[in-house]
Structure formats: structure tokens, C-alpha cells
């Protein structure tokens, strides 16, 4: 009898506060479920066996800890809310003769019940839905699996452990708060007189400035690599600014409006503004959290969806042909008809043996270096670095190819002719800004620019698409190449330190299956190895690239990002819903008495409803609107970052982001409809 007393008290406490606890249970269960699913997938033996699966699992493993940390913070927040609402009850028990130790027992059993139910239910749902998630992931990776339900023991153990730690921490903090309060404080904690909120001008101003800086950063940064470096700084600035604006800015704004007597003392504004300042003081942090979470969901979803949907185009940017080789030689003299034919022969043999047919053949020789166009002169990377103590500037160097005019005519099908000393300049990913008539490399090799082609697309060579690529087509390639080689030799004695690379590229599209293509790459590899062994002179090294081979690891990476984006998105949406729900419930209880008073002093129900409606609308939709603004300003930065991955589709990203925002807004409005009903029911209880 005595033994079962505390569990019974705890259980009746929970079931009497159903309205508060049911959403809490749902959230706990959902969090356990998500954690288990992600954990189970990250150790799943099915995924390991699929190509790209391991990359994905690495990401999930990382995501798992993000969710764990987030759950801790989030459950702490909601739990403190629950305890505050129930402190009156505890105070009453205390007055009626229970001491703090008895209360601690009730707390303990309450937490134990919640932990038990949410772990059991969460794990059951987790096991069921992890199968679904597995099928989905396998589908993303283009792999295969069976329909057997798998239970990952280690994931179960880890989930239980993590959540037990979380629940114990929550219990400890609740106990600490309880032991410090006196019974009367417990009884009254809901109704302590509240000071009128003071607008903190300084904090509000700082918030505006910080946000402006963050937005400024996002809009002005041009270079993707710089964008990556500053992205996290900008994110942190935006988060800080959001909290400052919601906590201090909103109250300050209300205060400014209250100072304007003509505006403030009007029926439509009077009550709304005064109660808004209190509402914002109480809910500023909660609203800011909703705003930050929403923004994260939106940014994550739109960028990952974009990346995943753009895998094909990213792949094609990076690997323009299905199968290719690139032979790097130590000097331009090794790039000659004879050896090129030898190499081509190896490829043809390979394709023949693999029963594959080549199409869209692209073949060219070139001299390549990293450089920066200054005025009408290209400076080379090393030259630039010397000036600045071997650092920086590497960010914004471009790629420069010098190639025979014949290559241009072959790929474009045109019949351009140039005289000696003339050049045709084509630019990929930009335009030839300086537009000078003459061009030089290292102030040494001079050309007369005969023709300029901007946004040249006929060839794109491998490498980072994020930087601009210049092609200088010359009629007398051998001579120019020789000069570049001399420059190389003059600058550096060891060949490893060279600035200019001489290479021959051959790539083609194939008609066979992915497996056949990957096999062909292996054969090609062997043939070049054999050639090297029989020492063909001058070959530095050969690189091979198979589209089919790389596709799977790309799908692994981007699929992993997408899965993580969606799973985290779901978790954040859950959190946002729960915060909103509790916010409405708290505000309902807080506004109850005010509602009655207003009616007694002569406000009609309609007036009150209107005033409350407008307040709720503002409170509810301010985070959504600010999240939209954040997304808008994050947009340039996201599109730059995607450029780093090789995705150059701004319009597509804009559409995805807009779509995500609209979808999110619809969810938000549904939640609003659901939770505002709860609010009105609480408010109108005493109101017959």
C-alpha cells in the first residue's frame, strides 16, 4: 500500500493535467523514435553494403548527436513550463503536510513514468518506422534490400542510455528548483506581480545593427569560398540578433508606440499595445527560438533538396564525360601526335574489350596554370603567393588553359583562323571584363586578342566550377607552350614545384551499364600502368575518371544530406509545434483574468476577441515572417555555397526555397488553427 502511494500520486498528477502532458508525451515519444531511427540507420548492416552508404552513415552519426543535444535543450524548456504550471499543486501538497522528500518522490515517479512510457512507445515506433526509413534510404542510394524487420540492439541500448541521461538531468533540475522554494512561493508562483517590461534600447539597437551586419555579409560576399568561411559567423550573428530583437526590440517598439499618445490612446491600439509588451517580454525567447528553428528547417530543407535534385547536373559539371583519362607530362615536347595516338589506342582497346561504344569524344591538349588577371596581364598563382608570404589570394585565383586553336574549331565546329601572335579568349562562368586588345602572361608572352567569347560552354574541363576559367586558344601552341615551359624551368629547379602543367585530356560518353563502365575504368587503369612500366618517356602521372563510379558516392553524400535535412526538419517542426502549443496554453491562463475585467469595464466580447486575435496573429506570425526575411537574405549565401558543390542553378534554388517556405507556412497555419482553439477555450471558461 505504502509502496504504491507515490507512483499513484504521480500518475494521478499526470492524468489530471492531461491537456499539458499529452503533447509532452507525444514529443518525448517522437524524439526517442527519431533518435532511434537515425541511430539504427547509422549502424545498419544493409546500408554498409550499398555503395555510398558509408558516407551517408557518417552523416547520420553526426546528425544523431545534434538531435540528442537538441532534445536535451528542448525537453528542459518544456519541462520547466510543466513544473511551473503544477507548482501550485505541489505547494498545496506541501501545505497539507508533505515534506520536500515526499514531493521529491512524486517528482521521481512522475519522471520515471514519463521516461518509461516514452522509451517503450518511442522504441516500438522507432523499430517500425526505421524499416520505412531504411527502404527510403536504400531507394535514394539506388541499392537493394529485403523486407525483413531488423532490430539494432546497439541502437536500442544507446537510445535508452541517452534518454535516461536526459531525463535524469531534467529531474535533477526540477528537484533543485523545488528545494529552493518555500510552500507559499510554490503556491503563488503563477501569480507573482509582474513588473512592466522596460524597453532595453541598447539591446534592441545592438540587435538591429547585428542583424544588419549579418544581412550585409550575406549579400555582399561574392566568392563562394569566402562565403563558406563566413557562413557560420553569419548564422551565429543572425541567431543572436533574432533573440535580441524578439526579447528587447519588440518591447522597445511597444514603448515607442506608447509614447505617441495620439496613436496609443485609441480603441484599436490601446489594449493591444499594452498587452503586447507583456506578451513579448514573456514570450520573446520562445518566439525567437521558433524563428531560429524555422529558419534552420527552411535553409536545411531547401539546400538539401536542391543538392539532391541537382546531383545529375553537379555530376556533369564535375565529370563532363562518362569515362576519361588525363595524361600529365613533364614538358610540352611529350605532347605529340605519336604519343597521343598511343594513349588513344589504349582507350579504344579498353572500350573494345568491354563491348562499349564511345560517343561525344572530347580530346585536347593544353597548358594549364592558376592565375589572376590584372589589367591585361595574367599573374601566376605562385607569383601571387610570394608577395603575400605564401598565404591568402589562393581564394580568388582563376583557372587558365592555353590550348591549340584546333581544339576550339573541333568542339565548336567553327572555322576560326588566327595569325601568329593572335589569340582567341573564351571565358567559362563569366565574362572577359577587362576587354583589352592585348593580353600577356607574366608580362612575357604577349597576344593580340582577336575575339572574345563570354560564358563559353562548349568545353568545360574538370575542376572547380566555382572559379572562372579562361581559355586562350592560340594558332602556335607548341611555341607558346615552350615559352611557358622555359618560364617553369627558370623559376623552379625541381619539376615538382612547377607552375604550368602540360596535359592531354581524352573523354567520351559510353552506352553500357554502370557496372560495365566501372569495369572499363579498371581495364584502362591497368593498360596505362603497363605503358608506364614499359616506360614511355615524360609521363608524370595519369588520372582516370568514371562518371558511374563517382555517381554513387555523390548520391551517398547528397542523399545523406537530404535524409538528414528532412529528419532534422521533422524534429524541428515537432519542437516548433510544441512550443507554440504551450505558449498558447500559458497565455490563455495568463489572459483569463484580464479578459473578465475588460468585459466588466465595458468592452464587448467582439472587441476583446478582435484585440486578442490581432495580438495572437502578431505573436504567431512574427517568427514566420522574420524567418522568411532570414531565408531571403540567406539566399545569396546558400546559392554561393551550392556553387561550391558545383550546383549553379539559382532559379531552381529560389523555387525550392519558396516551395519550402509555402509548405512550412501551411503547416504553421494549421498548427495556429489547432492551438488558438485551445487558447480561446481557456480564456472563455470564466466568461458566461
Amino acid at each position: 500500500m505504502r509502496k504504491s502511494f507515490y507512483p499513484k500520486m504521480a500518475w494521478s498528477g499526470i492524468s489530471h493535467n492531461r491537456k499539458l502532458y499529452i503533447p509532452y508525451f507525444f514529443t518525448c515519444i517522437a524524439m526517442v523514435m527519431m533518435f532511434y531511427i537515425i541511430d539504427a540507420l547509422s549502424v545498419s548492416s544493409v546500408l554498409v553494403r550499398i555503395r555510398g552508404g558509408e558516407t551517408m552513415q557518417g552523416m547520420l552519426n553526426f546528425g544523431k548527436w545534434i538531435i540528442g543535444l537538441f532534445t536535451l535543450i528542448f525537453l528542459f524548456y518544456t519541462n520547466s513550463f510543466l513544473n511551473k504550471r503544477r507548482s501550485r499543486e505541489y505547494g498545496l501538497y506541501n501545505v497539507l503536510g508533505m515534506d520536500k522528500r515526499n514531493l521529491a518522490h512524486i517528482h521521481f515517479w512522475g519522471t520515471a513514468i514519463i521516461a518509461g512510457i516514452s522509451l517503450v512507445a518511442g522504441l516500438i515506433f522507432g523499430i517500425v518506422f526505421s524499416k520505412l526509413a531504411e527502404l527510403w534510404m536504400v531507394n535514394i542510394l539506388n541499392g537493394q534490400t529485403d523486407f525483413k524487420l531488423r532490430i539494432e540492439g546497439s541502437a536500442i541500448r544507446e537510445t535508452i542510455l541517452v534518454f535516461l541521461v536526459i531525463f535524469i538531468l531534467i529531474l535533477l533540475s526540477a528537484l533543485r528548483k523545488m528545494t529552493m522554494a518555500s510552500p507559499m512561493e510554490l503556491l503563488r508562483s503563477e501569480h507573482t506581480g509582474e513588473k512592466p517590461p522596460k524597453g532595453n534600447w541598447l539591446l534592441a539597437l545592438v540587435g538591429v545593427v547585428v542583424l544588419a551586419i549579418a544581412y550585409g555579409l550575406a549579400v555582399t560576399i561574392e566568392d563562394p569560398v569566402v562565403a563558406l568561411a563566413w557562413f557560420f559567423a553569419a548564422v551565429i550573428l543572425v541567431i543572436v540578433a533574432t533573440y535580441m530583437l524578439f526579447i528587447a526590440g519588440s518591447v522597445t517598439l511597444c514603448r515607442i508606440l506608447q509614447k505617441n499618445k495620439g496613436f496609443y490612446y485609441r480603441k484599436q491600439h490601446f489594449i493591444s499595445i499594452a498587452s503586447m509588451s507583456y506578451r513579448m517580454k514573456r514570450n520573446g525567447a520562445g518566439l525567437a527560438s521558433i524563428c531560429v528553428l524555422s529558419t534552420m528547417v527552411l535553409v536545411m530543407l531547401s539546400s538539401t533538396i536542391c543538392l539532391y535534385a541537382g546531383v545529375e547536373s553537379i555530376m556533369r559539371e564535375r565529370y563532363p564525360r562518362d569515362l576519361s583519362y588525363e595524361v600529365h607530362v613533364s614538358a610540352p615536347k611529350y605532347l605529340n601526335e605519336e604519343s597521343e595516338a598511343n594513349w588513344r589506342q589504349l582507350m579504344e582497346e579498353t572500350l573494345h574489350e568491354s563491348h562499349l561504344t564511345a560517343s561525344d569524344v572530347l580530346e585536347y591538349t593544353s597548358a594549364f596554370f592558376y592565375g589572376k588577371l590584372e589589367g591585361q596581364n595574367f599573374r601566376m598563382k605562385d607569383e601571387l603567393m610570394d608577395m603575400e608570404t605564401n598565404e591568402s589570394t589562393a581564394f580568388d585565383v582563376d583557372e587558365v588553359y592555353v590550348a591549340p586553336l584546333g581544339v576550339y574549331n573541333r568542339v565548336t565546329g567553327e572555322k576560326e583562323t588566327l595569325d601568329a601572335g593572335e589569340a582567341l579568349v573564351a571565358v567559362y562562368g563569366g565574362s572577359y571584363e577587362n576587354n583589352t586588345d592585348t593580353l600577356s602572361i607574366h608580362n612575357d608572352i604577349h597576344f593580340n586578342v582577336k575575339k572574345v567569347i563570354s560564358n563559353f560552354k562548349a568545353i568545360h574541363m574538370d575542376g572547380a566550377v566555382s572559379t572562372k576559367v579562361y581559355y586562350i586558344f592560340v594558332p602556335d601552341f607548341d611555341e607558346v607552350a615552350e615559352k611557358l615551359a622555359q618560364y617553369n624551368m627558370a623559376q623552379y629547379t625541381t619539376e615538382n614545384m612547377e607552375n604550368v602543367y602540360f596535359k592531354c585530356y581524352y573523354g567520351c560518353n559510353l552506352d553500357g551499364s554502370d557496372d560495365a563502365q566501372m569495369a572499363a575504368e579498371g581495364i584502362l587503369n591497368n593498360k596505362f600502368a603497363a605503358l608506364n612500366a614499359s616506360q614511355q618517356e615524360g609521363i608524370d602521372y595519369v588520372s582516370y575518371e568514371s562518371y558511374a563510379f563517382n555517381k554513387e558516392s555523390f548520391y551517398g553524400t547528397f542523399g545523406g544530406l537530404l535524409v538528414l535535412g528532412i529528419l532534422l526538419g521533422i524534429v524541428f517542426v515537432f519542437a516548433a509545434i510544441l512550443i507554440m502549443y504551450y505558449k498558447q496554453v500559458t497565455e490563455g491562463y495568463e489572459d483569463q483574468s484580464g479578459f473578465v475585467v475588460m468585459q466588466k469595464v465595458g468592452m464587448t466580447k467582439k472587441d476583446i476577441r478582435q484585440s486578442i486575435n490581432s495580438q495572437i496573429l502578431i505573436v504567431f506570425f512574427a517568427p514566420l515572417l522574420l524567418a522568411g526575411l532570414h531565408l531571403l537574405f540567406a539566399f545569396p549565401m546558400i546559392s554561393k555555397l551550392l556553387l561550391l558543390f558545383g550546383l549553379n542553378r539559382t532559379q531552381f534554388l529560389a523555387m525550392v526555397a519558396l516551395g519550402c517556405y509555402l509548405m512550412f507556412a501551411v503547416c504553421y497555419i494549421i498548427v495556429y488553427k489547432m492551438t488558438s482553439g485551445v487558447y480561446y477555450r481557456i480564456v472563455s471558461v470564466n466568461n458566461k
Binding site: E194, K195, G262, Y265, A274, G594, V597, Q599, V601, G602
Partner: protein, 254 residues
């Protein structure tokens, strides 16, 4: 001329699960003249609060009529009722009913803001009232910063600022200490001197002894009434006490 006329007022509550009917008011009739100060007394459960709620148009009677300044409350539409109440009636409650979110000044302005008055006029009206009630220095403070007596004076100012025809006070001294109670009752007397009609519900003999007339309610009916007439406050106090004793010991109508 009567400012308030109550005829044959009935109010019956039906308990939630049907069946039992509770008669809160059986048959209440009385009238209040302009400039009068009337106290309504009765034990808990005698129907005082029900009566006040009906007079204040917060509740509807089952039968009978209430005429305020010649207008039948039953004829006023639901939608116009809040406005009517705001323009014609002032309220002082036991628990003050000030909004925590407003300073005392803004609390006092509330009915005028709702009536669409501009700031300059509100301010002009407030000055003399605040001076009379002695709260000029407190106007910028918030309810949580001032004492109960000060809160109640702000609530009185809120009731007065609309220049209502009638002020209803529901146990205005109920939550105050004796010093604050005395101050408030003196204030009511002073306001009444200025021709303000006041109807006060109370079960404090002391509070009632400030009124010009005391109505006693028992079991939903007006049981008895006492006029102050030429009596001193002490004499009235004694008469009220005697009547209450009679009421509780179960005597019939005197």
C-alpha cells in the same frame, strides 16, 4: 425622479443536470432616486450579487423589469449593452479589477479610450478626479506597486471618469484594511455630496452606515429598509445591527 426602478425582479437558476431549480431572487422591487446613496445588505447567499449583476446588465432576470433612467434594460440589444454600460454605469469591485498591464492612469482612461475620446479630453477629465481622490502622484505607477486602498481609489476614479448616472459598488471595502476602508467610505460620502448616485452591495455594517438608505435582502426578497433621515451615523449603525440580528435570528418582517 427615480434613476433606477426595479419591479418584481425574479431570477431562477437551473442546476446543470436539470431538475433542481434554485430561486435566487423571488420578488424584488425598489427604486433609487437621483443623488441617493443606497446600501444593499444581506447574508451570503441572499441574492445580493445576483441582484447587482442584473442591475449592472451583466446577467438577465427570469422575470420583472429594471428601468434605468426610464429605459428598460431588457430593450437594449446585446451588442449595444457594453456601450450602454460604459456610458451610464460606473463599477467598483471588491478585488479592484485593475489590469496589470496598464499604469493606474491608463487603467482609469480605459473606459474613455473604449468610448473613442481623445487624449486631451481624457487628461482634462482626469485631473480634478485624481486630485479629489488623492492619487495624482500615483498615476504613473502600476497596480503591483501600490497598496490595496490606492488600487481601489484608482478603480473609483475609473468609475467616475465617464460621469456615469449611477455607480455600482460591490463590497468595495471587502479587501481593504480598516484605515483604507474608512478613507474609501469617506470618499464615497464626498462623491455622493456632489450629487453622484451610488448603489453599494455590502455586508459590512460600517460601510452600510455611510449610506442614506439601507435595503435588507433575505431569501430573494427585500425584507426591510432603513432611512438615515435625521439619524447620526452611530444611530444608523445601531439600527442596522439590530435589524441584522433580527434577520439572522429568524424574526418576521418588522
Amino acid at each position: 425622479m427615480s434613476i433606477l426602478e426595479v419591479k418584481g425582479l425574479k431570477k431562477t437558476y437551473t442546476t446543470r443536470f436539470g431538475g433542481n431549480q434554485v430561486q435566487a431572487l423571488k420578488n424584488v422591487s425598489f427604486s433609487v432616486e437621483e443623488g441617493e446613496y443606497v446600501a444593499i445588505m444581506g447574508e451570503s447567499g441572499s441574492g445580493k450579487t445576483t441582484l447587482l449583476n442584473i442591475l449592472a446588465a451583466l446577467d438577465k432576470p427570469t422575470g420583472g423589469t429594471v428601468l434605468l433612467d426610464g429605459r428598460n434594460l431588457a430593450d437594449i440589444k446585446e451588442t449595444a449593452m457594453a456601450e450602454f454600460r460604459r456610458d451610464n454605469l460606473g463599477f467598483v469591485f471588491q478585488d479592484f479589477n485593475l489590469l496589470d498591464t496598464f499604469s493606474l492612469e491608463d487603467n482609469i482612461y480605459l473606459p474613455l479610450v473604449l468610448a473613442g475620446k481623445n487624449y486631451r479630453e481624457m487628461h482634462k477629465r482626469l485631473e480634478p478626479i485624481a486630485k479629489q481622490l488623492g492619487i495624482t502622484q500615483l498615476l504613473k505607477k502600476y497596480p503591483y506597486e501600490v497598496s490595496g486602498g490606492q488600487k481601489q481609489r484608482a478603480a473609483v476614479a475609473r468609475a467616475l471618469i465617464t460621469h456615469p448616472k449611477l455607480i455600482f459598488a460591490d463590497e468595495p471595502t471587502g479587501a481593504l484594511d480598516s484605515k483604507s476602508s474608512d478613507e474609501l467610505l469617506d470618499l464615497f460620502s464626498a462623491i455622493n455630496q456632489d450629487k453622484q448616485t451610488i448603489v453599494m452591495v455590502t455586508h459590512s455594517v460600517k460601510a452600510a452606515s455611510h449610506a442614506g438608505r439601507v435595503l435588507f435582502i433575505k431569501d430573494g426578497e427585500v425584507f426591510h429598509q432603513i432611512y438615515k433621515g435625521h439619524h447620526t451615523r452611530q444611530e444608523l449603525y445601531q439600527k442596522i445591527s439590530d435589524t441584522l440580528t433580527l434577520l439572522t435570528t429568524g424574526g418576521d418582517r418588522a
